[in-house]
Subunit: 167 residues, 2 copies
Amino acid sequence: MAVSMYAIAVPTFQKQLTALDAILDKATEYAAAKKIDISVLLAARLYPDMFNLTRQVQLATDFAKAAPARLAGTPVPSFPDTETTMPEIKQRIAKTLALLADVKPEQLNGSETKQLTVNVGGKEVTLTGQDYLLHVSFPNFYFHCATAYDILRHNGLEIGKRDFVRG
Amino acid sequence: MAVSMYAIAVPTFQKQLTALDAILDKATEYAAAKKIDISVLLAARLYPDMFNLTRQVQLATDFAKAAPARLAGTPVPSFPDTETTMPEIKQRIAKTLALLADVKPEQLNGSETKQLTVNVGGKEVTLTGQDYLLHVSFPNFYFHCATAYDILRHNGLEIGKRDFVRG
């Protein structure tokens, strides 16, 4: 009569990262067709002090890999932020999807009431696993996925919400 | 040992719409300080064929009001899309928050397995309440909230992720 933490978390990250990966493929094709250096898109941003596309993807994967680990009480896998090419950021998504595929539903059982201390907007807060997942991890994750989409759309990539929401 | 549909849905919409409302207040102050006609920000968009800020807020509230109604099996409240001013779109958020405050947790009990038919990217799909909430409603809702943020950030509003993710 309710939804498990695994079912809330893992398919959400999997579906959205898969969608993001497909959007990056469209960006690659678009750059090739328009003779745009792909590094221009990877470095694109919506305002000078906002993160660029590469960093948006890095952060989306960071939230996706951190949540199951924090909820399961296992170490958060660390990825060095060294990607500079499209194959490299796609590889980072693939590595995150591989980690998500290894999460066992039972590892997250009961994590909804577990107390976690995490950094929210620069300050440490202690909250339940449920609040962390729904009100810290999800809005951060979706923010970076949507901003990656918005950066590409702003740069002329012809994508629509169907590329972002795949049901 | 799991999370209720109410607890997944309602606080998510409430927190994010409250954050969006506060961002719109900052936009109003910014426009006044910079002598920008607020209607310029309301009509701003990231690409000529993307929705403008007003429409992003309308759509965010649409997903927030539709989900609890669909899950509860009650009619989806209809708002005419007639807002043209900042007070009007803030009023739409307030009306949505009032609807969310009226949702009773027990109205959503068992909705995770209910079969719903909804429009996803222009086609009718039938899916469970859980999949609808997590994989249609949430990505759409967050997409429009994040894009509203991105439009304002792109137009120089000094906001940070702390305005979007409030924990």
